[in-house]
Assembly symmetry: C2
Homo-oligomer: 220 residues x 2
DNA sequence: CATTTTACTTATTGGTGTTAAGTTTGTCAA
DNA sequence: TTGACAAACTTAACACCAATAAGTAAAATG
């Protein structure tokens, strides 16, 4: 009995340890991938490099991730997690819906400018990756988007912003999102626009957006 | 003398023919590349495929283009040319600065939705390609952008739009550009947004933009 | 102690861009 | 007309890449 119990304990502890080690290696791979991805960018990112940097053969990665896209998806999740934190901080640091929209807008731009490689992966390069499965990683995306829609809902409720006719809150979120996304996307993609121009334009940009939302759009 | 002249004529005609044939092959390569690029997208586009599709070996391409990026650059130029035509048509089909901005905005969206692969290459994927050299292909880009700034200048002159403080016409162009670019970019990159949402949002989007420009932006 | 499972590696396949080294074909002067 | 030369094009090769299959050594299990 006693022996039986002990061996059982050992067995389960051993299984636990192996699971932990497996999860650890997965983390090591993901961290190395994230670093190398940011360093070399999407185009020059390879599984072989990741494997070499952590002292494993390339095929080992396939024991922890389905394929390259799956690994990239989780690199993107890492980005979404950080992104969510930044947005939440911006939200918390401001008062009232309008200021919150403004603050999150600024934070959004700065995140994009500070992490262009990640930003591209998350929002520009492989959007279809996000349709793969729906694991726990999606929470961060939903959270980040929820911060935006929360500000909008608060603004609608308080009456300080008005949605154009026939546009629900979710679409309104997409509208606001697209506004600042355009600026970020151009800044990190088109050298002619660039970071300085984006920083110069963000305030007028937000002015226009908030003014447009404030008055409601009846034209046309 | 007569023989001398004839041989000279033959010689120059021959050289001309060779130059023409060379240019023709270059065109054939470029057309095949453009087609295959649109079919397979950036990621699955290869020189070997292009070569195979026109019955040449892959290395022949290097006799007419510096490298893959150079070929892609000229594929992008093809896109810019078409894009410029579409924009010009939209401009010509409308009267007055405001309607022209609106018309070009709509046309811009529809171009992006109709040619997402090209749009990505031109405005999202490899903007640094445009910094390579400055051949004749740039005219189309400049032209397309000029259509936008022309409408803006006309609007400023007529007093129907006002630029935010400290924003010159060129930056104002970038601002307007970024507005509609954001919508297009999200539509073709993020499945959650999608074409339908973009088409639904474009009018409110333009309303907000034009309303914001119309009143001037004094708020901070 | 034997068997099976786990973690990992090596080998291989079929693809990529790019360069170097041929080969054929047309041009041109003697 | 012929021999040198250049242009157009191909084959071979290199160094990568993602991905799969087959193999190996150690650990876990009964």
């Amino acid at each position: 009995m006693k022996e039986e119990t002990r061996s059982q304990r050992i067995r389960s502890a051993s299984a636990e340890r192996r699971a932990r080690q497996k999860a650890e290696l997965r983390r090591v791979i993901l961290d190395a991938a994230t670093t190398l991805f940011e360093e070399h960018g999407y185009e020059n990112f390879s599984l072989r490099q990741v494997a070499e940097s952590i002292g494993y053969s390339a095929t080992t990665i396939y024991l922890h991730f389905e394929d390259k896209d799956d690994l990239l998806l989780h690199v993107a999740f890492e980005g979404f997690r950080r992104f969510g934190e930044v947005m939440q901080a911006a939200y918390d640091g401001a008062d009232g819906p309008l200021d919150r929209l403004r603050a999150t807008g600024r934070a959004y731009l700065e995140f994009g400018l500070a992490h262009p490689v990640h930003y591209r992966l998350m929002f520009m390069q492989r959007g279809e990756l996000l349709d793969r499965e729906t694991p726990e990683g999606y929470e961060s995306i939903i959270d980040a988007f929820a911060i935006l829609t929360r500000s909008l809902s608060e603004g609608l409720e308080a009456g300080v912003i008005r949605s154009p006719q026939g546009v629900d809150v979710e679409s309104l979120g997409a509208l606001v999102w697209s506004h600042v996304h355009g600026l970020v996307a151009l800044a990190i993609s088109m050298p002619k626009v660039g970071r300085d121009t984006a920083r110069q334009l963000i305030e007028p940009h937000l002015d226009i957006l908030l003014a447009g939302l404030g008055r409601g759009a009846g034209a046309s």
